[in-house]
Amino acid sequence: MSGPYDGRPVTAATPSMTVAPAPALPPGQSPPRGRPPLRRLGGYALIVPAAIPILVGLGYPLARQFVLSFQEYGLAQQFGRPAEWVGLDNYVALLSDGYVWAVIVRSVAFCLANAAITMAVGMALAVLMARVGRPARLVLQVSMLLAWGTPVLATMTVWQWLFDSQYGVVNWILAEPLGMAGMRYHAWLVEPLSFYAVATVIVVWMSVPFVVFTVYAGLLQVPTETLEAAQLDGASSWDRFWLITIPMVKPVLLVVALLQIIWDLRVFTQIYVLQRAGAPTRDTHLLGTYIYSLAKEFSMAGAMATIMLVLTLALTGFYIRHMLREEEL
């Protein structure tokens, strides 16, 4: 249920200098061997309340969907017939369907394009935010916060109105002040490419604030002294930026890029709402909406969702491994 707007932040990559967890023994108290059982049980008791909803709400559906993806489960099964094992049939059926591949390719392309644009714009604005004076920075920050905090459905609604073919202000701006008369009554959502252009504008608009704030916070951590020392040694401001600032904020950039890829691959709400606004759904499905459209064929949906999970791991696996190696948890 997360989206670019939800502020899942830098914390995902807590740095390696984590304070060591509590020493097991409070000093001056309790003999070394008397107490372990209770203390150890205490740890388990404390994670149980959190573990239960995760296992029930996420773990069980994940396992169930995985099992289901190897079974035949359609309408007949909903009326009580036991599900049959069909091995990899569902996967074979999906992966031998050209349309499924089209959806996968589209989703990956959409995801990478959106993540790249978001990162580029977000980093540029973060640097801009660090370089301007206080009043300009405040104005920029408030506008970013507004875009970030507004509920996604409210923003989706206003974007539909902005891109309305007849009375939308985007078409008006393109046609009147900018003189592109052909765009006056352009129906943005009908043609897939223009549909994805609108979706990209919306997704980037929503995602950039998070990138800006996180990268900006990272930029503030670069020690002034280092930059000044480099300047004394004759490094140009260009060199200082690329050779000092960027390497120092690289961990932040990596996490943010990772999150963008995850979020943009699973994008659902934006595509779904735009489809409902009058786009041809079959030509505009991405993974999320496609799985949703399969809802009646549980097994196929399960197999498709598993493919999506594998795809996510394929796109992010290298980073997770890196993180697990580097982090002291």
Partner: protein
Amino acid sequence: MTASTAPARGTSPLGAGPRPAAPLSRGRRTARSGGRPLATRLLGVVAVAVALVWVFPIYWMISSSFLPTNRLRTPTPTFVPLDGTLANFRTVLGDPGFAESFRTSLVVTGITLAAAILFAFLAALAVSRFRFRGRRSFVVAILVVQMIPAEGLFISQYQMLDGWGLVNHVLGLSLVYVAAIVPFTIWMLRGFVTGVPIELEEAGMVDGLSRTGAFFRITFPLLAPGLVASGVYGFLQAWNEYTLALVVMTDPDERTLPLWLQGLVEANRATEWGVVMAGATMIAVPVIVFFLVVQNRMTGGLVAGAVKG
């Protein structure tokens, strides 16, 4: 973030000083007495222009919500609603669905928030203050769980809730919300708990407090910002969520606010944009106000959790 010795200065975006700007832009041409160099001022203009473009959709939402239909369906858009009315808002408030959805949203958010914060807090304590077998695996699991594309899970979540009679039930929706929110909340709170040195508690115990007493008298008050930050996070997630609500709450009488708004759009598309914008404004403004009020704390909290570990 590897620069562990760097002091965490200016962790809140709004409160941060212009420090990093200085070394980057300070050149021979800096005129100390005459304000900022020209380049910085030009960049300032660019920043304000970007800000205006970014905020325009929100301005447009509020501006359109004051205009009657005949003013919205004109060849030239009305950019400033000088002669606006409140009629659209009256229409929205007169819709019985709005009040109902508001109540549903409130209940779901309340249950989700209370459960998620309490559970995550206990788990965060466990992983940062206790050593036990499986602790590391639990932390890794919390991380990996966040990679699971929830958008691929909703079918089986629906089936599961359906089997238990929890479809169209606030408890069903709250359950999947808690499952979605808790992992990240644990991750966030863990940073805060670890950030309070255990030595503080130990000092309290030397002075005669019990372990529990030391925790509640000394550490707990220091965790307040972290609890606020995770509370805001959970609130925004639950209040704004659309996808799972769409799947779980299929009955029109059990809609949350985002579902109600989508229904309003589909009933009024291309006819009553003003009413739709008033509806969007009604669900957005409380969140925006709340967000602006607490964001300073929250962003500071998130960043502090990240850079201090």
